[in-house]
């Protein structure tokens, strides 16, 4: 159970213009600016849920993760995670959470991955039996047998990221914070990581909070989305509801033998190749079935596919509409 109430955090940032003169001036008198990174963040996440935490760069996603993992002290507000305030009881809190920062590494650089795991075993005081079980499960799920004995510095990014995720789960945490876990991964590794996160959430009932810019991650993993922009929570709802709300059109691809399309109001041609037509349907004006009916009147159709706009497009229109 994660409960955040009115969490705020302000950073003091030194700013100056480019150039030597400005640098010299700043040497004597620094100008600071206060940036509100988080502004009254409030949300609740029940146990076992998987939540996508999204927002543009610099919105405050990582900052929230750091507060929830007990690294940063907020300026105000309360945060209670499994009955504890993370920054006040950091050490006990740390035993129950796992964190992956996609841009950083927690593995010992020069030694084989398995040595890092052993170290974590002692740091978290995991007993031998539980460690063995957890280790075997993670190694087989993430396909690590062949890389576990290699020094971290010789791993590719994708291999390393899989090891990073395994490292964060060795102590079987109740909550897993993933800060851009798929950053820079290829398609195969991304899918492997997603599948893994899904199965961990299902089998261990781990609460997962995921920040990412990859909307396919969100689509594949989460039902609930929290959108943050400029330090404020802008939306908190179901992915499907959001999709309905922010994607007011569907894409329909028609292959036909002959005929001229009858374009009524609400339909617009996105692409018109030889006998292949891509049409965007504005669902606020015309329903999908109506559109198909109208099209089949005028065309001799051989194939038809309906697809909704991707999460990617949804986010673009959301960012635009919310002006973030």
């Amino acid at each position: 159970m994660i409960e955040l109430k009115n969490i705020s955090k302000t950073f003091k940032i030194a700013r100056r213009n480019a150039g030597f003169g400005e640098a010299a001036k700043a040497f004597f008198h620094k100008e600071y600016e206060y940036v509100k990174a988080l502004d009254n963040i409030t949300f609740t996440i029940p146990e076992g849920e998987m939540v996508g935490y999204i927002g543009p760069n610099g919105a405050g996603k990582s900052c929230t993760i750091k507060i929830m993992s007990g690294i940063l002290n907020p300026d105000g507000g309360t945060c209670v995670i499994n009955g504890r305030t993370p920054w006040k009881d950091r050490i006990n809190h740390a035993k129950e959470i796992g964190v992956v920062f996609g841009q950083r590494s927690q593995l010992w650089w020069d030694v084989p991955v398995v040595d890092s795991f052993e170290l974590l075993k002692d740091i978290y005081k995991i007993d031998e039996k539980q460690y063995k079980q957890s280790f075997d499960e993670l190694v087989s799920l993430l396909n690590l047998e062949s890389i576990i004995k290699t020094p971290t510095r010789q791993l590719s990014l994708g291999q390393r990221m899989r090891c990073e995720i395994a490292a964060s789960l060795l102590h079987n945490p109740k909550i897993l914070f993933l800060d851009e876990p798929t950053i820079g991964l290829d398609a195969v590794s991304k899918i492997a990581v997603r599948e893994f996160i899904k199965s961990i959430n299902k089998n261990r009932k781990t609460t997962v909070i995921l920040t990412t810019h990859d909307m396919q991650d969100i689509e594949a993993l989460t039902k609930r989305i929290i959108l943050i922009g400029k330090g404020k929570i802008l939306l908190d709802s179901d992915l499907s509801t959001l999709k309905k709300q922010y994607t007011k059109h569907k894409i329909i691809t028609v292959e036909y033998i002959s005929g001229q399309p009858n374009l009524i109001d609400g339909l617009s041609v996105a692409e018109n190749n030889k006998n292949r037509l891509v049409i965007a349907i504005d669902t606020s004006k015309i329903s999908v079935s109506n559109a198909i009916a109208k099209l089949s009147e005028s065309l001799d159709i051989t194939d038809i596919t309906v697809s909704s706009a991707s999460a990617e497009e949804m986010v673009v229109s959301m960012y635009k509409e919310l002006n973030i």
């Binding site: 950073f11 990582s62 750091k66 993992s69 007990g70 690294i71 940063l72 002290n73 950091r90 050490i91 006990n92 740390a94 035993k95 959470i97 964190v99 920062f101 841009q103 950083r104 590494s105 927690q106 010992w108 020069d110 030694v111 040595d115 052993e118 170290l119 002692d122 740091i123 978290y124 005081k125």
Partner: protein, 267 residues
Amino acid sequence: MKAYFTFFKIRFINGLQYRAAAYAGVATQFAWGFMTILMFSAFYKSNPENFPMTFENLTTYIWLQQSFLALFMAWFFDNEIFDSISSGNVAYELCRPTGLYEMWFVRSLSSRIYRVVLRCSPILIVAAFLPAPYGISLPVDIMAFFLFILSLALGSFLMVSINMLIYASTFYTISPMGIRILSVSIFELFSGAIIPLPFLPDNVHRIFNLLPFASTQNTPFLIYNGYLSGKSVFHALLLQIAWLFTFVLFGKLLFRDALKKVVVQGG
């Protein structure tokens, strides 16, 4: 507790890989030790009566200093700690169920100890076989030897606890360079790294003795060679303990304050 021991172990294993550095270290310390001894022998030839300790005691001091250099070298810091603060990797270390101060203390201590383990024995063995006034002599008695070990341990803990303050300062200043250079210069003079403290003028010596720097390397070496004996040994040990306690306390408070204000750099 076990976690800290494992930390120690992994650091140790990691360090054992750097053999070439250890060989080079041994060679340097030999050269340095001989040079210092030659210089002092020139002074001693002019008038041995004017010096606070015998030439044998002095050479013993110098060889001890060279063998245990890695425990007390003031310019040595764990760069990974500085990096993790200025790059923000400290975020991961703060996600662990261990105190950051304790974790880094053990880390710094172990990187000093593995260096000493690799380097001290060749120097001590060779120095033991050098002809009489130039080599290292045995401790005055068995008691002095045990007190030396105790004092050596206290001294190296104190050394690390002073380093911890410099690590902590990086949370505030981002770049550790300025304060590092300052601390190195203070240490070199005040700890007896350049010349043993008893060689300083009496009044200066008395003051320097009370400062924390003297409690690092000066005290254990002077216990070994018998310059300190009887009551003064216990006074010196008490002073070491007091300074250690003060610095650990101060360091912990500083870390607590720093972590409250910590800004994890870089996103």
